[in-house]
């Protein structure tokens, strides 16, 4: 790879994946120069200031609504805080009275007053205060620019460009997304900087933290940005261009191959249709899921929202989020899983448990925090008006937990009815099967629920008594342990016997070795991450159901994981020959 050892290769932090070759555009943040002037007409200066505030509010409102669209409510909240600052009575009043008393131009007073707060923020040791100080800088510059009645002028043409800048504010990144920016390169910022998050959300490659990007790159330089590896090449030579063009071609070939599968169903050669659902963690994934032909969301993890908000979101906030997803995925189903807090995930209250995986988590935590649980149930119900929402309970270990949950749902429904709020009265309820005790009580649970979803990650962990996060024993976490295969078979058979739908949403569903087994054992659907959908379809479309069901049955006789592994290898080899490894190693 001599291509990557030349002087024009710069390395930074890979912040958003993808490769692009385009001309550079240097975005120099126009920092408004502020000159101290003595004035006589203070009334006019105050008028100017007030107009600038109104103008800035209008601009930010626009950015805010664009951001809500593109990034979702939580991340847009940042702009809302900026709008609140423009309404700060103390700040506005202080600025006005200082203009009057000190008889100085308004931009000078604005600059001096805002800087006081920025200095305070910069003194803090908390890293987020530095970021906050940048946000304040952004709003200060906006007001000053509006006092000078200047417009932000874009020099950006219609051509695709790679944007190079010192740093980017969230507002910049959102606005640029409307232009033809195909990549971001910045001097500063890390993986969690606003620019990086927004770039990932918008699916634009980004390399940040290059330190001297703005010095090494000039306007109209040809630039290669490799967001997978954090590489930026300035004015590449022919070898480098060829190297990356080949990479791009390969990427697009894989995309084309898999894109062909988008509208094709995951049907086996002998005609058994498998529903492919997707697991969803972030808003931004939704587009990819739809693009890849996902037929709904089989698992939406809601504890992520809780983490984004740094606190429990209110019922209204949750309603907004869930309704938004339900609408976007419509007419496909959205399966919302109740907060699975605890275990290896963060607990929002300070409780130290000696063994959190066996502690206060999932449904146990929710039942002990009824108000929180009810706020979520109600928000999910409110989002169910189009009849495409399902609700799923994690970590159920006993019949009593399910009964308490059902009583709470009934209670919530009654309260919503009383308030005249609409919801889907027949919203499907399901439970995760991830605790061994629940796996043995499918028959009883089937009386109460509409569907089961097998969570293999925890089920395997609990069945084999292995903590997969513990290096010493992690190799004993065996997805293909005979007891696991037999248990899966038992769960699926019992569910079918008692006429309850069953699906699987653990990582196992994304393992190409496991797919023939899972489908062979009788699953009618699986839920995988969005990027895996095309691969899963590709495999299923090459299988014969009658063949793999026999194959899966034969595995139930085996005694060790090694034997099972060998049998799968032979199966793949017989089916796909030498190409089997390559075929499925994507």
């Amino acid at each position: 790879m001599t291509e990557l050892k030349k002087d024009n290769v710069h390395r930074g932090i890979p912040a958003a994946p993808g490769i692009r070759i385009a001309k550079a555009f240097l975005f120099r943040k126009e920092v408004e120069k502020v000159i101290e002037e003595n004035i006589t007409n203070t009334d006019k200066a105050i008028d100017n200031f007030e107009e600038a505030i109104v103008k800035s509010k209008a601009e930010l409102a626009k950015v805010f609504s664009l951001a809500v669209d593109k990034l979702g409510v939580k991340r847009a909240a940042l702009f809302e805080a900026q709008i609140m600052i423009l309404d700060d009575p103390i700040l506005i009043q202080t600025i006005k009275s200082r203009i009057e008393k000190e008889k100085k131009n308004s931009e000078f007073i604005v600059n001096s007053e805002f800087s006081k707060y920025q200095d305070l923020m910069s003194m803090s040791k908390e890293p987020y205060m530095k970021e906050r100080s940048h946000d304040i800088e952004d709003i200060k510059n906006r007001i000053i620019r509006n006092i000078k009645k200047k417009k932000w002028k874009s020099r950006i043409t219609e051509n695709e460009i790679i944007l190079v800048s010192n740093s980017l504010t969230p507002a910049d990144t959102v606005l640029f997304s409307r232009l033809k920016v195909t990549g971001y390169v910045t001097n500063f910022g890390g993986l969690t900087s606003h620019a990086a998050i927004v770039a990932r959300s918008l699916n634009v490659p980004a390399v940040v933290g290059l330190h001297e990007a703005t010095e090494n790159i000039s306007d109209d330089d040809l630039v290669i940005i490799d967001g997978f590896n954090g590489i930026v090449i300035v004015n590449p030579d022919n070898e480098q261009i060829d190297f990356y063009k080949r990479k791009l071609e390969k990427l697009s070939q894989v995309d084309i191959e898999l894109a062909k599968l988008k509208d094709l169903p995951a049907t086996t050669l002998d005609g058994k249709k498998i529903d492919i659902f997707a697991n969803l963690d972030m808003t931004e994934e939704l587009e990819l899921i739809i693009q890849n032909g996902g037929e709904g969301i089989g698992l939406m993890r809601t504890e992520q929202i809780f983490q984004e908000y740094d606190s429990f979101p209110s019922e209204e906030e949750q309603t907004t989020v869930y309704s938004n997803y339900a609408q976007k995925i419509y007419p496909f189903p959205l399966t919302i899983r109740a907060f699975d807090i605890g275990g290896d995930k963060v607990l929002p209250v300070d409780v130290r448990e000696p063994n959190p995986m066996l502690g206060w988590r999932g449904i146990r935590f929710l039942i002990d925090n009824k108000n929180l649980f009810k706020s979520q149930i109600k928000a999910v119900l409110k989002a169910s008006i189009h009849k495409n929402v399902k609700f799923m309970i994690p970590m159920v270990a006993s019949y009593r937990e399910l009964k308490v949950t059902i009583d709470l749902i009934t209670e919530c429904k009654n309260e919503l009815n009383k308030d005249g709020i609409n919801f889907d009265n027949h919203m499907e309820l399901g439970i995760m099967i991830e605790v061994p005790s629940a796996a043995l009580m499918i028959k009883d649970f089937a009386d109460e629920v509409d569907f089961f979803s097998i969570g293999t990650n925890d089920l395997i962990q609990y069945m084999l008594a292995v903590d997969r996060g513990n290096d010493i024993v992690a190799n004993q976490y065996q997805e293909f342990h005979p007891a696991i295969i037999r248990t899966l078979s038992y769960i699926i058979n019992e569910a079918k016997k008692y006429k309850t739908k069953v699906t699987l949403c653990g990582e196992m569903a994304a393992n190409y070795m496991a797919i023939p087994i899972l489908i062979g054992l009788g699953l009618d659907s699986i839920s995988v991450s969005g990027s895996v959908i095309p691969h899963a379809k590709q495999i299923i479309r090459a299988l014969n159901y009658s063949e793999i069901s026999k194959f899966a049955l034969s595995l139930l006789e085996l005694r060790t994981e090694k034997e099972i592994h060998e049998k799968i290898d032979i199966f793949y080899f017989e089916k796909f020959g030498e190409s089997s490894k390559e075929f499925y190693s994507n």
Binding site: D88, I90, L91, M129, S311, P348, V349
Partner: protein, 88 residues
């Protein structure tokens, strides 16, 4: 004048959302309201001011209320702090 020390008890501390809520509550009252931390005194009715306070869980800050409705105001604000900004 009412003076009271309060402790930040929620996990995330005094982040933007509680800052905004404190300002909103304070604005409903006439009295003056100041927050003291690390030697700085911040007007509690100013969002940009409250946003400069980096108050993590466990830190103690001093609140002062002065004016006609200082009792009602301090009750409302102190209650909001004691509720851990509704994030417990």
């Amino acid at each position: 004048m009412i003076e009271k020390n309060v402790e930040i008890i929620n996990k995330a501390g005094l982040h933007t959302r509680p800052a905004a809520t404190i300002v909103k509550i304070a604005s409903q009252f006439e009295s003056d309201f100041y927050i003291m931390k690390d030697g700085f005194s911040i007007n509690g009715k100013s969002i940009i001011g409250v946003m400069t306070l980096a108050a993590a869980k466990g830190s103690v800050i001093k609140l002062t209320f002065e004016g006609e409705d200082e009792v009602k105001m301090s009750d409302a604000i102190i209650d909001y702090f004691n509720r851990g900004f509704d994030e417990l």
